[in-house]
């Protein structure tokens, strides 16, 4: 049974058949698209078309993608949870480069992402005589040490500093929005559960700083009665 079915069975109980209404928009075209489309979530037909166009086109060259991968692996090195490839970070760069290659995004793919590679490569050539991809990890770290601690919010900051900050931001975001990154982060949600307050061991940790007060908690939901249909007296006092 897939996850969706499980959730439905656990939580919906007696819900009527209307929830199973199939979309009336499915055409053969959509079905064909769905099969080659790995990203399965509610898209409008227009959105799907747009995404599909990008998924079937290419922005970066092979060596550019390898360069991004190399940078990303230094910004967030592999650990026991996985690596940059497991996190699909390079794939995300490739998609965003096209997704944001619009005037509204100020031609982000070309002017920011590709520009970044050009600038990093130039610096590597100046310093070490070869492009980033052919530099050693210690060499690249020498460069990153120079540009990664500068304040990138300053107006007149060097282009390389700003571009590195953008790359770092995208790498961190890409990693921590991936399956391995979310495990690494420790985020525990996005799953059906019954919230019944902060766990006791956590409350214990914050003792003396914050705590639940009884008067407040007494008004809160009694989760053992959440399935009982609500009834009230005329004054709005809950009876069930």
């Amino acid at each position: 049974m897939d996850r969706r079915e499980t959730i439905k069975n656990i939580l919906l109980g007696s819900i009527g058949s209307s929830v199973l209404l199939e979309s009336c928009v499915s055409s053969l075209d959509n079905k064909v698209l769905d099969k080659i489309w790995k990203y399965q979530y509610g898209r409008t037909p227009e959105e799907k078309k747009r995404d599909n166009k990008f998924l079937n086109s290419r922005f970066f060259t092979e060596s550019e993608l390898q360069t991004i991968e190399k940078i990303a692996n230094i910004v967030l090195p592999p650990n026991e949870f996985g690596d940059i490839n497991d996190a699909g970070v390079v794939e995300m760069f490739e998609f965003i480069a096209k997704d944001w290659s619009t005037p509204a995004h100020n031609d982000y793919g070309e002017k920011v992402l590709r520009r970044g590679l050009i600038v990093f490569n130039q610096l590597c050539v100046e310093k070490f005589g070869s492009e980033l991809l052919n530099c050693t990890e210690p060499q690249i770290k020498v460069l990153f040490d120079e540009i990664s601690y500068e304040d990138n919010s300053l107006k007149n900051q060097k282009e390389s500093v700003k571009l590195f900050a953008t790359y770092r931001g995208m790498i961190v975001t890409g990693y921590f929005t991936s399956e391995v990154g979310i495990k690494d982060l420790g985020y525990k949600g996005n799953t059906p559960n019954v919230w019944d307050g902060v766990p006791d061991e956590v409350l214990e940790q914050y003792k003396g700083i914050v705590s639940y007060d009884k008067e407040w908690i007494d008004k809160c939901v009694d989760q053992s009665k959440r399935g009982d249909i609500a009834e009230w007296d005329n004054q709005g006092n809950l009876l069930t």
């Binding site: 747009r50 967030l76 998609f95 979310i182 690494d184 959440r226 249909i229």
Partner: protein
Amino acid sequence: MEIINNSLKYDVIVVGSGAGGGMATKILSDAGLKIALVEAGPYFDPANPDQMTQMKWPWESPRRGSGTTRAFGDFHMSYGDWKVEGEPYTIEKDTSFRWWRSRMLGGRTNHWGRISLRFGPKDFKSKDYDGLGENWPISYEDIKPYYDKLDKLIGVFGTKENIFNEPDGFFLPPPKPRLHELFYIKGARKSGVTVIPSRLSILTKRINNTRGVCFYCGQCDRSCSAYADFSSSSCYVIPSLKGGLVDLYTNSMVSEVKTDKNGRATGVSYINKENGREYSIKGKVVVLAASACSSARILLNSKSKAHPNGLGNSSNLIGKYLHDTTGTGRSVFIPDLINRKTYNEDGVGGMHVYSPWWLDNKKLDFPRGYHIEIDRSFAMPQYGFGYNPNELNRFFGLKVGGYGDKLRQDVKKYYGSIIGLSGRGEAIPRKDNYCEIDSNTKDKWGIPVLKFRYKWSDYEMKQVKHMHDTFEELAYNMGGIALGNKPTKEQNYGISAPGEIIHEVGTTRMGDDSYNSVVNKYERLHDVDNVYVVDGGPFVSQADKNPTWTIMALSWRTSEHIIDQLKKQNI
């Protein structure tokens, strides 16, 4: 172009399927009336797996949930945002307005925050307190029975607090506060700011046998597949369709209300977005619920001999008194919350606690109040997570920036340590804030578009300035630090652009006097006895309370009035 006429005559044509239109459709069809429900967007069912975004992970989106096609992110459940392809609007020079439209069954109720606050007795009579704006022609007592019925029908959690202007209702029990909300409670109490459990239309307890109970994924903005939050699609329209009395027209963009030679409405015409052709439907009564600005647009575009400047516009007030909620926000860093033990703290989709307005304006330099909302700190990462990952290091004299495992550790260290505070306040409606028809611009369907003219006044500026003062005091008393600088006068104290809070109302305001208002106290046009407006348009003022609960209570009341009038054969 040839107009394709539908020979069927409906009892009522409802335009728009959001909060007001869905409510009217339910009440009118439950009473046995034959309804045409006309919606500009496609069919949408939160439970349809093909349309669903709930319970998806960020990596299931190739852009990791970023907001390229949906302003609030890829998983947010609104088809359309401040921009709708092919449907532009224009803005008067040196003014601003951002107009959100959700083109789908259920409209904006699929994505909203479910904050379900009743207006209080003061909110209907604000002019009596400060001499500004206008009073409503109805009082809290007139609408209270409908709020009561709404609470029981839809379900809203909250607590009885006996605060005069924050009336209690028939509440489901609220969820327990999250950890960061305990910090907020502590800070608010120290600051003398009232803090109580929030009031959201999310089912913490079963309310009937057709809707599910909240399973705490915190994703109401994606619309709940178990129908455990309120959406007009899931709670009104989809159940009403089963009754057999409602014909739903989707992808149908109403362009105008048709009238006979006496100026009475005979029906509506609409563009079928699938073939671009114009159709018309006939009805005894027309109920507009297309959203405040869309309904104003339809009326202004419905010109005839009897109504030369737009239907129901003898007062010239349609589009005037447009007003949105004021808003500003601040992030607060809580050092006590670094290196948190992680656990599932998603909770409901929204805050578990909030602050209703707590001060007396007599002692302040601005009129009307605001409430404070508290954002989640421990949410599921989406695109944007981890930019400037260790900027907070500066508070500890540590290096900011860098890369490698140290950076990774910093991201994890600060995860969940920032709380967002937002103020949401009441603006004073003004005649010179308005929307009107821009006769030079048409949308892709050939319908003349709206032009907006909107400026905040000194009242609103001073109010949001006060919000930031409060945020800083709260931050301090929470043991935290308000991040960033307090916005200056030159930055308009950080006030959101008009329309950004997505509570625009007032364009067809209600009143007893036909010279000074557009609809009467039953939301019927003064000029025409068979056209009603049941969205935010009739609002005379909007308190600092989110408008949905009041839109629906009014729509229910109006629907009962329509049933009564049809029974008496008055319309």
